[in-house]
């Protein structure tokens, strides 16, 4: 059989890290491609526009959790750094006081990294999880993981899906009966 032509993909803004690696969404002509990359292996999942029933952004508490982790670890490291520096300053006439600058430097570096990560986590905005509803159920996407890029991704993806499926019926249209279970 002849090989199918390689579709051209368009990157959707917003990535995200999960236990499956770095995730990103790409748009093809007829489907949404989710790519999870672990540097040497890329795994793919496809959602064909014709089958997508809903796109939902669900708020998560990931940003709050990371905020607490970076805050607590950074705070403890900063407190230890301050204590060591204070101890070195108090005992500056002792011979061994210079040795205290090594752990102070280590804990200071940890505190600085945590502070930078805490600021980055804060500025990236609220965290979220994007979900796609297909005839076989809900699928959680690995990207985007922040609300800002997710909103933009939703606008882009919704536009493409509506171009394929057509506009949704007017709000007065009653929902279909929950009877026919679709199988794919």
């Amino acid at each position: 059989m002849s090989a199918s032509p390689t579709p051209s993909y368009r990157k959707v803004r917003g990535g995200g890290y999960t236990w499956k690696g770095h995730g990103r969404l790409w748009l093809a002509e007829d489907h949404l491609l989710e790519v999870n990359s672990t540097f040497v292996i890329e795994s793919y999942r496809r959602f064909f526009f014709q089958e997508v029933r809903a796109f939902v952004i669900q708020r998560t508490s990931v940003r709050r959790i990371w905020g607490w982790v970076f805050g607590v670890v950074g705070g403890i490291a900063g407190f230890i750094t301050g204590g060591i520096l204070w101890g070195a300053a108090v005992n500056r006439h002792e011979d061994w006081h210079a040795a205290l600058y090594v752990p102070a430097g280590f804990f200071g570096l940890v505190a600085l990294v945590c502070l930078v990560m805490w600021i980055i986590n804060l500025t990236l905005g609220p965290s979220c999880s994007c979900q796609v509803l297909t005839p076989t159920g809900w699928y959680a996407l690995s990207a985007p993981r922040r609300l800002g890029p997710a909103g933009q991704a939703q606008a882009v993806i919704a536009g493409v899906i509506q171009a394929v499926q057509g506009p949704p019926p007017s709000p007065s249209t009653p929902p279909p009966p929950p009877s026919a279970v679709a199988t794919t």
């Binding site: 489907h31 292996i41 076989t136 939703q154 949704p168 279909p176 279970v181």
Partner: protein, 209 residues
């Protein structure tokens, strides 16, 4: 792939807890809370939610009448469409929709075996990036003292890069030849360092005697 339970057409459920939401409980711009788990959701429904898929595969296909085209695999069934790859006529039983294409079972199995069908490739090993990684990591800091094995890892790096040169790369980013090229360069550098250390030690030991 993690899947939830199959969703009945027309029933909108909360993706977090599975509670049934109102038919218009989603808004694209404003968040709404799930009545049970209170997760804040926003999003939108598409036309497919109102219209269940029409092309659900059926076990029985329509029997062919006199003079009608018949399925290649089921001569008693009426042909519904041709295979997009080989052109054989297919009934609705043999029709295998793959994305926007319709294939026969033979073409589908051939495409699955040799990764010819881009639409169903589940994953790819990126040879070039593997060569880049194995080429770069041993050269970094702590690993340089492992110079005796740099010869082997350098050789592996070059072999991986050469194997990957002709293999398909990332589906979305292409072959990424830069990774293979850097992999070869790093691999040669590792071999060079290893040989250099060996000659250096041999030179030092011969002058000490």
């Amino acid at each position: 792939m993690s899947t939830a339970a199959p969703v009945e057409s027309g029933l909108l459920t909360c993706p977090a807890c599975g509670t049934a939401l109102g038919p218009y409980g989603l808004d694209a711009a404003n968040e709404a809370a799930c009545p049970k788990c209170h997760v804040r959701l926003r999003g939108q429904l598409f036309r497919a939610w109102w219209t269940p898929p029409a092309s659900v595969p059926t076990e029985k296909s329509a029997p062919a009448m006199e003079g009608e085209a018949v399925c290649f695999f089921h001569p008693t069934n009426r042909a519904a469409l041709p295979c997009d790859s080989c052109g054989r006529f297919l009934c609705t039983v043999c029709d295998m929709p793959v994305g926007s294409r319709h294939l026969c079972p033979v073409c589908l199995s051939k495409g699955m075996g040799k990764e010819k069908l881009i639409e169903i490739i589940p994953r790819r090993f990126l040879w070039g990036r593997a060569a880049f990684l194995i080429g770069l990591v041993p050269l970094c800091g702590f690993f340089i003292f492992l110079w005796p094995i740099l010869f082997a890892s350098g050789g592996v790096t070059v072999i991986l890069a050469l194997i990957g040169w002709g293999r398909p790369g990332s589906l979305v980013r292409g072959k990424q030849r830069w990774a293979s090229i850097f992999g070869i360069l790093f691999g040669l550098l590792q071999i060079g360092i290893s040989v250099g250390f060996f000659y250096f030690i041999a030179y030092v030991s011969s002058h000490n005697k």
